[in-house]
């Protein structure tokens, strides 16, 4: 009998991935599979490379001039770093929500519609914008002021707008890079509830510094740690990856136990 997570469809496979900035190795030998419609959280101390790895999943680290990825990241069987893969196409299927809310200096409506426009969407814009804002739990707050600037919203609303913008283009995977770290507790709860709801339709990978958050929102948790390598430069590596319950209940690795009980990090 297949157990619950082996029969899950794997969306992203991370196969022996190391990430370099020039000669500096930021992340070392990560193996990690992301199952469909799961929320996977990446936790670990600063500098452990969790955000770096996250950015590789939609090739956003291409923008950093000397970043290099070794190993294979496959999305539904396609190597994302194959020379024939267009990063723009990757980013349309694997969206990103950033740490700081970063709406475009455009109206609320246009913030959501922008992604649709550039993706060549030909359907009903009004409908899709409304749907996306509803899914992001923002519709009721903004339905009467869709033409106001996205920058006029509060921080928490801006972040939900950014989520609406991301889900409007219906990616399969949503990457979230500490999406609540710039928000107040109430906005954080709203975003976490939202993540629970989005799980039905999307696969979500979330980087967080907040262990309670990881425990609350995710199905699986990957714990990363940083260690000094030869020559003293620190690199990040994956310590343990398992069901969230296991990671926070009975982790197999001692370092994980120490981190989740707050002894370092």
């Amino acid at each position: 009998m297949a157990n619950t997570h082996t029969d899950r469809e794997i969306v992203i496979k991370t196969d022996n991935v190391s990430i370099f900035y020039g000669a500096f190795q930021a992340v070392r030998n990560v193996f990690l599979d992301i199952p469909k419609n799961n929320v996977v959280s990446f936790i670990g101390p600063s500098g452990c490379g969790k955000s770096t790895l996250l950015r590789c999943y939609n090739r956003l680290n291409d923008l950093i001039p000397n970043a290099k990825v070794q190993g294979e990241i496959t999305y539904r069987g396609t190597n994302l770093y194959d020379s024939k893969v267009d990063p723009v196409e990757v980013r349309r299927r694997i969206g990103m929500v950033f740490q700081q809310p970063n709406p475009f200096p455009k109206s609320i409506y246009d913030n959501v519609a922008f992604g649709l426009k550039i993706a060549g969407f030909t359907g009903n814009f009004d409908e899709r914008v409304e749907q996306s804002l509803r899914k992001a739990a923002l519709w009721e707050e903004v339905k009467d002021k869709l033409q106001q600037s996205g920058l006029s919203l509060s921080g928490g609303q801006q972040q939900r707008l950014c989520i609406a913008r991301t889900i409007a283009v219906e990616p399969e995977v949503i990457l979230m890079d500490e999406p609540c770290s710039a928000l107040d507790p109430i906005s954080t709860v709203q975003i976490e509830n939202l993540i629970h709801e989005l799980k039905d339709r999307f696969t979500i990978i979330i980087v967080t510094h907040n262990m309670q958050q990881a425990a609350r929102v995710s199905d699986k948790t990957a714990f990363f740690n940083a260690e000094a390598g030869e020559g003293g430069s620190r690199f990040g590596y994956l310590v343990e990856y398992d069901d969230t319950r296991t990671i926070f209940g009975s982790p197999k690795e001692e370092r994980t136990q120490e981190y989740i009980s707050g002894r370092f990090g």
Binding site: N58, L60, L63, V88, E89, R91, R92, G95, M96, F98, Q100, N102, P103, F104, P105, K106, F114, G115, K117, I118, A119, L151, C162, R165, T166, V169
Partner: protein
């Protein structure tokens, strides 16, 4: 660590005089304040006196005729300079049409794509040098490139000369505008699958537009008053121009010609033209300020 409250309490003692400012420093402070005010006053004097001179000498000659009539011949009365007004607007417009695309695209390259590489540093260096080039040299350049090649003085040649002067201002302000757009905004656009072209044209450039518009209007304000580069490019014309490839009158060259003329009527018209050009530049500058208030970031 000393608690903050105990530090505060010592300065709050009302009868304590040990923290008073010494008389010599009080005097020094007053002298310096006076000096600074004097410098401000002196630096305003040139502008104030120019405005005073231009208004007192030019306002009397202001009449509808200056907008409707052609410049009078030597010794004649009345007249206006509608052809020079048209010529100034025309040469500035041509200059803007040439320099805006070059300037904005150059700024997009240096900020969005060059990102400090040697080409963008070269562009920045050249921009600085270009902004220091005397305007008459810009005129010589346009003379060599446009006048000699097209076989005559023309409005286009004048516009080309002005575009050289406008270019550095436009590049610099456009660069500033593009830099003011946060990196996070670009990442957001790229992160949902925008191409570089879409990111620049649909997100970054619209956000930087108030800056660019300010730069363009300031550049036009500067170009509108230029005389030297127009002397041997647009030259002058007593009549209305019938095409872009004809010599054209401009306000600044009209002032130059009429101010040194021995005829009082022409001298008076030169003052009126001077007033008009000052008003023009003033209104463009005010417009630029209004535009720059609409900044997004």
């Amino acid at each position: 660590m000393t608690p903050v409250s105990s530090k505060l309490s010592t300065t709050e003692r009302p009868d304590d005089n040990q923290f008073g400012v010494s008389p010599s420093r009080q005097l020094f402070g007053k002298v310096m304040t006076g000096l600074v005010f004097a410098c401000v006053a002196i630096s305003i004097i040139p502008l104030a006196s120019i405005l005073f001179m231009v208004i007192t000498n030019g306002l009397g000659g202001f009449s509808p005729a200056i907008f409707t009539d052609l410049p009078p011949a030597a010794g004649m009365q009345g007249g206006g300079f509608r052809n020079a007004i048209v010529g100034t607007l025309l040469t500035c417009a041509i200059g803007a049409i040439i320099s805006i695309p070059f300037g904005v695209l150059a700024a997009i390259y240096t900020v969005e794509f060059g990102q400090g590489n040697w080409i963008s540093q070269l562009v920045r260096f050249c921009t600085n040098v270009l902004s220091g080039v005397p305007s008459i040299i810009a005129g010589l350049f346009a003379y060599g490139v446009v006048v000699l090649l097209t076989g005559g003085f023309s409005a286009v040649a004048g516009g080309a000369a002005l575009s050289v002067l406008m270019l550095p201002t436009i590049i610099r302000t456009a660069e500033e505008g593009l830099k003011s757009v946060p990196k996070a905004t670009r990442l957001a656009a790229v992160g949902i699958g925008a191409t570089n072209f879409q990111t620049v044209t649909q997100i970054v450039l619209p956000a930087a537009l108030p800056f660019v518009a300010t730069g363009v209007t300031l550049a036009i304000a500067r170009a509108a008053g230029e005389t030297a580069p127009l002397l041997f490019t647009a030259l002058f014309n007593q009549y209305d121009i019938k095409g872009l490839w004809e010599p054209t009158a401009t306000l600044s060259v009209l002032i130059y010609n009429f101010a040194i003329s021995p005829f009082p009527n022409q001298q008076k018209l030169a003052w009126v033209a001077a007033l008009l050009i000052v008003l023009l530049i003033l209104s463009i500058s005010i417009f630029a300020r209004l535009v720059s208030r609409r900044k997004v970031y």
